[in-house]
């Protein structure tokens, strides 16, 4: 079972992603509500996959992504973005995100994406 | 003061594009042209014949109102000519306001080859094209024969004679 860390500043999103993934055979090992905490928890938990919201306070998704990549160059990070954030998506891909998903998304798309990581 | 500025700029203009080559292929061989001479690349297009020119000068083309003579590099290098297809390109080079188009099998890409990776051309004179090569560049994809654009543009009848004497 793949271990997932969910990083998102909206409790709603964390809840939803957790529910979707747990139903589909993923183990949620941790959550964080901002980028800084996200990096901390990554160090503690060493998850297989991280879902990372792009815009967050206290260090946004791209900064956190970069920090995580410094810890583990092969880290699998899936960026969660909204429509209109193309430039941020571009920058995250350049910074090493393995993929991205755009809100609003359905459960099957999220699962499909994580299965590719 | 202005004078010195102009000089410095002249020297540095060379530096910017130094080591950058446009590569193209004739069959399996890859050649490189310094991009400072290359102005553009176009697909093969209708060529108008011109009298009294060597066989490698195929004629002239109309490039947006400018008349450019075109040279078939295969013929110039005394290789077997092939039929032109959709990959055949004309590389337009410009030296001292003289423009010509070079017909090549296909163009590849722009690469950077450092001076350290360029070795002098082979000293033996076999292979008609070697007289136009000013160096051999080594890069990850393999060896590229770097052409001397100035030699390509001049009349090499004089050179012909001296080679026969060899």
């Amino acid at each position: 079972m793949k271990k997932v860390l969910i990083v998102d500043d909206a409790a709603f999103m964390r809840h939803t992603i957790k529910a979707m993934l747990t139903k589909n055979g993923f183990e949620i090992v941790g959550e964080a509500e901002n980028g800084a905490l996200g990096v901390e928890r990554y160090k503690e938990l060493s998850p297989d996959i991280v879902t990372m919201d792009i815009t967050m306070p206290e260090k946004d998704g791209i900064e956190a992504l970069k920090d995580i990549k410094k810890i583990d160059a092969n880290a699998s990070v899936l960026m969660v973005s909204a429509m209109g954030q193309e430039k941020l998506v571009k920058n995250s891909i350049i910074a090493g995100a393995k993929g991205f998903i755009v809100k609003p998304f359905k459960e099957d798309k999220l699962v499909e994406a994580l299965n590719k990581l | 003061m202005t004078q010195n500025n102009e000089e410095k700029v002249e020297i540095q203009e060379e530096d910017t594009q130094k080591g950058r080559y446009l590569t193209f292929k004739l069959g399996e061989e890859v050649f490189g042209l310094e991009i400072k001479y290359v102005t553009e690349i176009v697909g093969i297009q209708p060529i108008t014949n011109i009298p009294e020119v060597p066989d490698y000068v195929k004629g002239i083309i109309n490039l947006r109102g400018k008349i450019i003579p075109v040279v078939d590099v295969r013929v110039k290098f005394k290789k077997e000519p092939i039929e032109y297809n959709e990959r055949t390109c004309i590389i337009v080079i410009d030296i001292d306001d003289m423009s010509i188009g070079l017909i090549v099998d296909e163009v590849s890409e722009v690469v950077t080859i450092k001076e350290d990776d360029v070795v002098p051309p082979p000293s033996y004179k076999t292979g008609f094209q070697n007289r136009y090569i000013k160096g051999v560049g080594k890069s990850k994809d393999g060896v590229k024969l770097l052409l001397d654009c100035n030699k390509l543009l001049t009349n090499e009848e004089k050179q012909n004679i001296s080679d026969i004497e060899l």
């Binding site: 891909i93 993929g99 | 991009i35 014949n49 009298p51 009294e52 000068v57 002239i60 163009v107």
Partner: protein, 682 residues
Amino acid sequence: MSDDFNTYSEPMLEMFMFETNQSMEQLEEILLNIEGNSTITDDDINEVFRIMHTIKGSSSMMMFNNISKITHSLEDLFYFIRENKIYDLDLTRLSDLVFSTIDFISFEISKIEKGKDPDGDESQLTSDIKDYLNSIKNDHPDQEIILSEDEEDHENFISKENLSQDSNEFIAKIFFEDDCKMENMRAFTLLRDLEEIISEVTHTPKDLFDDEEAADKIIEDGFNMLFRSQEDYDKILDLLEDGMFVESVDLEEVENEEEKSEEIKKTQVDLEEQKKKTLNETLKNPFSLNKNKNIISVNVEKMDMLMDLVGEIVITESMVTKNPEIQNLELENFDKAARQLRKLNNELQDIVMSIRMIQIGPTFHKMHRIVRDMNKQLDKNTRLEISGEETEVDKNIIDTLGEPLMHLIRNSLDHGIESTEDRIAKGKDEKGLVSLDAVNTGGDVIITIKDDGKGLNRDKLLEKATKNNLLTKSPEDMSDKEVFSLILLPGFSTKDDVTEYSGRGVGMDVVKKSIEKVGGNIQIESEKDVGTTINIKIPLTLAIIDGMKISVGDSIFTVPTNTIKESFKAKKEDLIKDTSGKEMILIREDVYPVVRLHEIFGLKSKKTSLLEGILVMVETEESNYCLFADEILGEQQVVVKPIPAYLMQYTVKDSGVAGCAILGNADISLILDISGIANKYI
């Protein structure tokens, strides 16, 4: 560092350079004024402050930090002067600082124009400016100064270029799942996924980021890639199919002609087109503007297009009004309308040509700065007088003239005008005079550079020429004019007489070449102790002629209509041969030689019998003769283009070709050199 600048659009950069260059020119004028009047006004101070402030802002936006810093320090200086109403300034020191700044900025801009990093070090100059400001503050204590804001740090992302092994070429068409959103970014992700193993990538849609419709294009037509890879087909297919939200992949090896589907073949054509476009864009990276482009160039390029378009309209108008389909019809209203059309087109032609004409004034005015600088360096006191500023000249010519003019002016000041003492000793005005004049004589523009210096010394010139082995005639046979022209020969100036200010790198022979490049010529007159005059004559050009199109085999030639006397089909009884076997024709009791065009040009004619084709009688200054061609196609106005320079090393010109004409359908027709053919073949 240069990759950073990919973030900026070219129009933005062009605008920045244009505005900055303009500002530098304005600034220079203001300073020259200040120096000329030896006072500085409130308006002057305000203007300089405003200019510095503007450039500080725009250069920091473009991240040219050195320019931003230096303008910032000058802005501070002038702000202080303005707020504290300081007028007792050391104007010499002030203007030197500003001129140095102008030079620094102009130099950085020219680096950018040529594709190089603007990496000049402004720190020395900035510190000089600060020192000056401090000295003013010391003289006027109790004053304050505004602190600058910190520059923002921009982050930029640089993507790797990669060279991987070259082996096979592939085409891939990829569709993503419905509703996966941001298909353009999905495509970008795929490119990154494959980065390590592919090279020479071309893709459509080409622009994944700035094209708003990229995602839609991908939804409709798929994401198409043309690339090379050393990996095998299966591995590449796997990698592609593994991409996130990839619905389908159609992967083909390019070499495999038979197995490719029609759709892939069509995609390949698009991709090859795109590849050329991309390569062409790489050749023009964000900074390097083509040599002939100029910052006003957004207009100049359009101007060229406009000119070409007008040429084509002229040609097409002929195709309509002289169409064979209507030649024998009596169309009164049509003819009237056609005449009106011709009239309007002529007007259009005139106007378009005149738009390309620019006053030479600004080019002349730039010489003031050069004279000022040289006066300082050489400790001379020379005046520059300009006349004929409103004279209009084609833009191309203005661009070419700049450098030669500068060189000639420097020459006059350096070698021509004597030192103040010498001048006084000779009884001349202690202020030397250099005058620049331009006049339009209808067909040409004549530019004159005149100085009242010591003139050229015939004997010295001959001596130097002899030393450098440049004489082709004996000195006694040479007129003064010819002797003076010796300085135009390459190799005339030796290293010894090249001073710092004139002649280095730009010899008189280069000046001559530049002028000849635009079809002009240069002549020198001189008189000892009186002065030297240099005359440059440049023709105003654009040739549109009336031509008759004739066909010979598959080729179309153009005969200038004004050389044609008549045309006809030959009658058997009129054909004869002269004693040497040359073909002739008898017309109304006179015998004319016949020149078979397909023979002299080595073409396969459709009609070989003189009775089948058509004979065109043409006239030259010396004689008349007949051209034999297959058919006459009709009269047409054509735009004349010269034979390309490269071909001049062959005997094309002698073979009877005077130039090239571009026909209405964009084909090229060779223009026949009627006198040349007569000279060669008759």
